[in-house]
């Protein structure tokens, strides 16, 4: 069989589309496989930006338009081996299966990590039961790639607004967009208590940028594709890659395995929309399927490292909500406009809370100032009967609700895994990804410690009632102030299942993201992360894909 492309890229999300841009820039021809549908880009004329996405809660929030369908392509979940083969079948932490991947549905908060996020083991130290490792790259080495990623995606923000940020070589390419009313209320309260809220670095245009218009604040941001291409979703890198004439994007084409012989990948097997199988050969393979589908594909391909699928991390989300005596109209604006980083610091109070629980340190995460915005989701929370319309009019759970969501750092654990479910298959007959996951005591202690602080801020806003919740749900005596949502983490920030490092016995990939077992395969997603940090993974995985793809093309 002939090789029609120099490289195959599996997945068209932020990591895969970045790899496509860099590899085509280096003169390579690439074929991009995407299992989902294409609504993002005009494949015949990439210069045109098609408008296909819409403000439609049913389509995106209820009916899985961005995929994957939880019956056709389910995942499974259990909290430990003791729970049997699985407890849940269906939707487990799904990121979109669509051209553009997770970059399509995200509301685009794109923070950088801090210097110490790359050196957790050497700077903060090990914690019993956690599999903490330093990254094989430092922030100083990453900074130019962060800067380039912000320019390529188009990130709006203000340098210097966050006193805890890592150093940066220049300002953001755009100023922040307009602040949401609710975020102004919570930010004022936070400031009064000595916290440091700032405009969230956001991949949403505040001015015309890269030929795409400024955001018009429609409010259908998180979980929706942008109807006007104001989001810094992967349309930009995909468009640049396609316009070189050296890239082809093949949607609704599911890669079922990588063909590996004698420590080298030779190509992939893929399934078309009718279910027929094909082979495509190439000398380089980039895997960018996300931190749950990437280890699944490596295992389906017969790769054998004991490390594959280990250390899966989510963010432990801690929510503190306040019901306000006034309307906050969270449906007007770009979902989240303000955040604060104070809870990421390992300060004296955090060390004291840690010591009381027998831990050396605890770390929280970025706190988003947020407010719910969708009517159907709200309505389903209220009881039926005469109460329904009274509640909808008063809207305590939407139009009068302000919230904090802390993206709490989740420590890697060797026993938290993604593997192949022994019986459940997808519509193509392939075993699905199974997650086995439990919180470490660290997350519980950090959540409780910081939830109390967030509740103090919420009290300062004048909230009538304050509620706390976490995801995943927490149990036991540490959690008396928490209510339950679910044991499956709802955070879409997933990482860690194919970590990179300097030692093949404790990592899946080398310091350039290439598989130790098959070095012509590179991973370009958050699977690589040795630790998770309290920040969303997207900008960091894009910066890493920029760095690693350049080396991979050489």
């Amino acid at each position: 069989m002939s090789r029609d492309f120099d490289a195959i890229i599996i997945g068209s999300g932020p990591g895969g589309s970045t790899a496509a841009e860099i590899l085509t820039e280096a003169g390579l021809s690439v074929l991009i496989f995407e299992r989902g549908r294409n609504h993002l880009i005009d494949l015949d004329n990439p210069a045109i930006l098609p408008q296909r996405f819409s403000n439609d809660e049913l389509k995106y929030m209820t009916r899985h338009f961005l995929g994957p369908d939880p019956w056709a392509e389910p995942r499974t979940f259990r909290t430990s081996i003791a729970d049997g083969d699985r407890q849940v079948i269906g939707e487990v932490n799904n990121l979109p299966a669509t051209v553009g991947g997770g970059g399509v549905h995200a509301d685009g908060k794109l923070p950088r990590f801090r210097e110490d996020d790359f050196l957790v083991k050497s700077e903060l130290g090990a914690i019993e039961g956690a599999n903490i490792a330093d990254w094989p790259v430092t922030y100083d080495e990453m900074e130019p790639y962060y800067a380039r990623a912000e320019r390529l995606i188009g990130v709006a923000g203000r340098a210097g607004a966050n006193p805890f940020a890592a150093w940066r070589s220049g300002d953001y390419p755009m100023p922040p967009g307009p602040p949401m009313y609710g975020a102004l209320v919570t930010s004022a309260a936070a400031q009064k208590l000595g916290y440091h809220p700032y405009p969230a670095p956001t991949g949403v245009n505040s001015i015309e940028y890269d030929g795409r218009p400024p955001c018009n604040n429609c409010g259908f941001c998180a979980y929706f594709g942008c109807p006007i291409h104001a989001k810094g979703d992967p349309v930009a890198p995909l468009r640049r890659a396609l316009l070189t004439g050296r890239a082809q994007l093949r949607p609704q084409s599911h890669v079922s395995r990588i063909l590996v012989e004698n420590g080298q990948a030779t190509g992939v097997e893929w399934i078309d929309v009718r279910g027929e199988r094909h082979i495509e050969l190439a000398e380089r393979i980039v895997v960018a399927c996300g931190a749950m589908e990437t280890p699944r594909l490596l295992l389906l391909s017969g790769l054998t490292s004991e490390q594959i699928g280990r250390n899966v991390m989510f963010h432990m989300q801690t929510f503190v909500f306040g019901i306000m005596p006034f309307r906050v109209h969270g449906h007007i604006g770009r979902s989240v406009t303000h955040v604060h980083d104070d809870h990421i610091l390992v300060d004296e109070a955090a060390r004291a809370a840690a010591a009381a629980a027998g831990l050396p340190w605890i770390k929280g995460g970025l706190v988003e100032h947020c407010s719910p915005s969708h009517l159907i989701a709200e309505a389903k929370q209220y009881p039926w009967g005469p109460q329904h319309k009274i509640m909808m009019r008063e809207s305590p759970m939407r139009d009068r609700l302000l919230g904090f969501c802390m993206q709490g750092d989740d420590l890697p654990q060797f026993t938290n895994t993604v593997d192949l479910d022994p019986a459940v298959t997808d519509i193509w007959g392939l075993p699905v990804a199974r997650t086995t996951y439990q919180l470490h005591t660290h997350e519980l202690v950090a959540s409780r410690h910081h939830a109390a602080k967030l509740a103090q801020i919420m009290k300062e806003t004048g909230a009538e009632r304050i509620m706390t919740a976490t995801s995943p749900k927490t149990t036991g005596d540490l959690t008396t102030s928490h209510s339950e949502i679910s044991q499956v983490p709802i955070s879409r920030h997933v990482a860690g299942t194919a970590r990179f490092g300097t030692d093949p016995s404790s990592s899946v990939c080398d310091p350039w993201g290439r598989l130790w077992e098959a070095p012509n395969v590179m991973i370009a997603d958050s699977s690589l992360f040795p630790t998770g940090s309290g920040y969303g993974p997207t900008l960091t995985l894009v910066a890493l894909a920029l760095r690693n793809s350049r080396a991979f093309a050489a």
Binding site: R37, Q51, R52, F53, S54, N55, D56, E57, L58, K59, T62, R63, F65, D69, W71, A72, P74, I89, P178, P179, M180, Y181, L184, C215, N216, N217, C218, G219, F220, P227, I228, Q252, V273, R274, G275, F326, R327, H329, H331, I332, G333, L375, I376, A379, K380, W384, G385, P386, H388, K389, I390, M392, R393, S395, V424, T425, I427
Partner: protein, 186 residues
């Protein structure tokens, strides 16, 4: 004419929806279109393309060419998933990969028969008692009622935008959007 429901099923469901969301100055759930929404969902495959995903980008309510009514085509895999969900697995092997699935059509048909024509002649309090007796079904219908009241009208509900209007909710605002002053002001 309904896409799936019989005239009797339609009447029973009207009574149910009027109890789940009663009139109170604003119309009741059936009057806002919840039954038509459910009927359109149950009969989604009587339309071409099926009424699963409305089109985009704009409804025309705030400018732009209206395209929500141009429903999306489904791929073979998507059609299989949605037919399984709506029609049930019906003993068809490819629909029973994860075990037998009771379709929404069967669940509605069976449960409406269980509620029976007699619910129409009960007083509201007795109707509520019946709904509490079939709480699983009531929970299912209530979820669909919420979707029918507050989803886009192209899916069959939210008649005349009544579900959005009684809440002064704008709905889909593209391509107009909101001004910076509307974002930041009280």
């Amino acid at each position: 004419m309904p896409a799936f429901l019989t005239a009797l099923q339609y009447s029973i469901l009207e009574a149910v929806c009027a109890r789940l969301v009663p009139a109170d100055g604003a119309p009741d759930g059936a009057e806002i279109g919840a039954v038509d929404y459910i009927d359109t969902l149950l009969g989604a495959f009587t339309f071409t393309p099926p009424r699963i995903w409305a089109g985009g980008p704009f409804s025309g309510r705030f400018g732009g060419a209206a395209s929500f009514s141009d429903f999306e085509e489904l791929s073979p895999a998507e059609e299989l998933a949605w037919r399984t969900r709506i029609e049930g697995s019906l003993g068809i092997p490819e629909r029973e990969r994860l075990g037998p699935v009771a379709g929404l059509q069967e669940t509605y048909t069976r449960s409406l028969a269980k509620l029976g024509e007699e619910i129409l002649s009960l007083d509201p309090a007795a109707q509520d008692d019946r709904l509490r007796e079939v709480s699983d079904f009531t929970y299912l219908v209530y979820g669909h009622v919420c979707e029918g009241l507050y989803g886009a009208p192209e899916y069959g509900g939210n008649r005349g935008l009544a579900g959005w209007n009684y809440l002064n909710y704008e709905g889909d605002v593209q391509p107009r959007g909101f001004t910076d002053a509307e974002v930041s002001g009280a």
